[in-house]
Symmetry: C2
Subunit: 134 residues, 2 copies
């Protein structure tokens, strides 16, 4: 019963990936001079990336959003660059596979939605920087 | 450069999902009487699910593999049933989004590949139970 129309329903994950690549594409088309974002700090609270508490400028966020988009579009892990988490994740390995599956799928949706929002925010911030926002 | 041929390359994640649903479909077609798996414990070391250290029988694994397949095919989170991890994951929230993205994507590939193997193993175990393996 639950598995009816698998192809249509599968589009939900694809749609999330597609929304992200679309947001980054729009960001790229808008931001003609990415270097103008150098040394521009994120604003709080409206910038979604401001919560991370690091010192990246908006140019670095721009590069990060494009980098993630490339991975989304390739559908592959970066071969030699799997960024390790320093978190104590031994407990994850003890989880049953179904829990682990839900955890990573939920996490992937969540991070992709956040990155999509970040792409929109970065696009808007660029327009402010070049004086187009008012 | 890296984002060339996005649609072809995107099939990699789709292919992983597809391999899993295919393995479960084959399992379902083979296992005509799932109840024969009740009270049959996993074997070590060849059964991938044996490492989890719990007391599930193969029938419960059969149901779990089908349950995950339904979520894969729907592409959605289970609405009221997001299984919480008891792991201390606060550190994850402090990770930068790119690291988090790689973490969840790598994790999703890994758990799907493990579940695919489990589906094959469970299919083989059923054949043993009904005396078809020799």
């Amino acid at each position: 019963m639950q598995s009816a129309e698998p192809k249509n329903q599968k589009s939900c994950l694809v749609a999330t990936l597609s929304r992200y690549t679309s947001a980054v594409r729009n960001m790229e088309h808008t931001i003609m001079l990415p270097s103008l974002l150098r040394d521009v700090p994120p604003k709080e609270p409206e910038d979604t990336f401001a919560a991370e508490g690091n010192n990246k400028d908006l140019y670095e966020y721009y590069l990060m959003l494009k980098s993630v988009r490339n991975v989304v579009e390739s559908g592959l892990m970066p071969p030699d660059e799997r960024k390790a988490l320093s978190a104590p994740l031994e407990t994850l390995e003890d989880s049953d596979p179904e829990t682990l599956f839900h955890f990573h799928l939920t996490g992937l949706f969540s991070v992709l939605n956040n990155l999509t929002t970040s792409s929109h925010v970065l696009t808007r911030r660029y327009k402010e920087v070049i004086g187009l926002s008012n």
